[in-house]
């Protein structure tokens, strides 16, 4: 069975059995036209739905873009509802910072614990039961508790994202370490490698492709977690904007904020893919 989280990858990655290969120019055309026309298709369906539905339910991508443009640097509307002198941009920055801090700290812990527990049995006996429960459980239930314990501060959201990242990355790192063919470590040992060499020259590079794949999946979910934690209660962030705009039924603003998070998530994912491709160019 492949890893359950391949969901974050583009469905093209799998590639179904191609029955007939198109000619060269056809493939060129397909490559350069199908993806953009796919995006256009998405926007077209959205626009048609927006025309059919009343503006209190859905507005067109164009209206969303206009709202985004007008409120990105400064949004008087958000000011009125108590978020201070701010705009979508500044709120997005808060969200992004929390996601990245949580992700980096959480996954660093998770990766170290994951790799270590894959090779040290006593550690594994302690880690596995915890991960078994936390890995299948909605992390979200911790959000209200964190809010009660730590209050309406950035740390509350960072802890949620960080905890989630740690658990996910323990699972991915363990699996990655289990999938590194033992023959590489045996070969390294046979050539006199110390445990440190084995760790840094074999285990870490060998697990990197899978770990980066896991990081991608974790990052994709982290945005939702952060935004939700912000809606529940935060001093700032795009989730607060969504909450405020919901209270006044501002559909264009809600869609603008959700699109903004999605866009950021997509860009960050692309950056991570580029990084992963460079780091694992041998694979």
């Amino acid at each position: 069975m492949t890893e359950p989280g391949t969901g974050a990858a583009s469905p093209l990655a799998g590639g179904a059995p191609e029955q007939r290969r198109p000619a060269a120019w056809g493939r060129w055309l397909a490559h350069f036209l199908v993806a953009p026309s796919g995006v256009l298709l998405f926007l077209a369906v959205w626009t048609i739905l927006a025309i059919e539905l009343p503006p209190s339910r859905l507005v067109s991508p164009y209206a969303v873009a206009v709202d985004l443009w007008n409120n990105f640097l400064r949004s008087p509307r958000l000011e009125v509802f108590g978020l201070g002198r701010t705009g979508y941009g500044a709120l997005l920055l808060y969200t992004t910072r929390n996601v990245l801090v949580g992700l980096v700290v959480g996954s660093a812990v998770g990766i170290v614990v994951g790799i270590a527990s894959a090779r040290l049995r006593p550690l594994r006996l302690i880690v596995d039961p915890i991960v078994l429960v936390l890995g299948t459980v909605p992390v979200l239930v911790a959000a209200p508790l964190f809010l009660l314990w730590f209050g309406v501060v950035p740390f509350t959201q960072v802890l949620l994202v960080g905890g989630y990242s740690a658990v996910m990355m323990v699972i991915f790192a363990q699996r990655a370490a289990a999938n590194v063919d033992p023959v590489y470590e045996k070969s390294a040992m046979a050539r006199g490698a110390s445990w440190r060499d084995r760790l840094f020259l074999v285990l870490i590079p060998g697990t990197l492709p899978e770990i980066l794949g896991g990081l991608r999946i974790t990052l994709a979910s982290a945005w939702g977690l952060e935004t939700f934690a912000e809606i529940l209660g935060a001093p700032s962030g795009i989730g607060q904007a969504i909450k405020t705009l919901t209270n006044v039924n501002n559909v264009a603003g809600m869609l603008a904020c959700v699109s903004l998070v999605a866009l950021t998530a997509i860009i960050m994912d692309m950056l991570l893919v580029a990084l992963a491709r460079w780091v694992t160019r041998w694979a």
């Binding site: 007939r20 290969r21 000619a23 060269a24």
Partner: protein, 256 residues
Amino acid sequence: MLMVETQSAVSIDRLSVVFERDDGTRVQALRDVSLDIGEGEFVCVLGRSGHGKTTLLNVVAGLIPSYSGDVRVLGKPVKAPGVDRGVIFQKDAVFPWMRVEDNVAFGLRVSGMPKPERLRVAREHLDLVGLRNVPRAWPRELSGGMRARVAVAGVFASDPPILLADEPFGALDYVTRRQLQDVLLSLWERTGKTIMFVTHDVDEALRLATRVIVVSNGSVVEDQAVDLPMPRSDDALATPRGLELRHLLLHHIGLE
């Protein structure tokens, strides 16, 4: 041996196949191949990896629809796969989600044979390949050699006049491979099917074929009848004629 047929089972006239790589460069997999296989012949297509022998088989099987030239099976041009040609694949193609007998009966199921009848035929053929005891097993419970027997039984159960095999025993160990060669030979003698068998193994070709075709760089470089009596023991292959043929084939695939 029966060699009196007038109709050819497979006739290939000036066949060329060009593949295009993803980077746009072209590879000529087959160049101007002409070939005639009579009914009841056991033809081995011999060659090194990457020299076009699997492509040749896939064209005849109908799995490569875009080729230039004329390819006919039993007089009809080849455009797509058909029930007149059974294929044993190089990769393990036994469906893991079907029990052994359902795998063997698959072709009959597709052609609409009722269940009791097709299971009877399947069990008969499992018997013929020496798998009497495992009709209800899952393929994962069988060894590679047993799965190869399932593949052989499946293709004979469907009873196509022509059988195409693409290095079907390549992944098996020596003893198992020899056993499966015997199974295949006995089924061939029993049914008189036309067989086109792709291999890179000179000894396998000499043991099985009535005729060996050597493919090199996309062209047929040798077409040699193997006039050794069947069944061919190791001693029979060690006769002067056997050794002569062996040297000839080795020479054509680039050794000696």
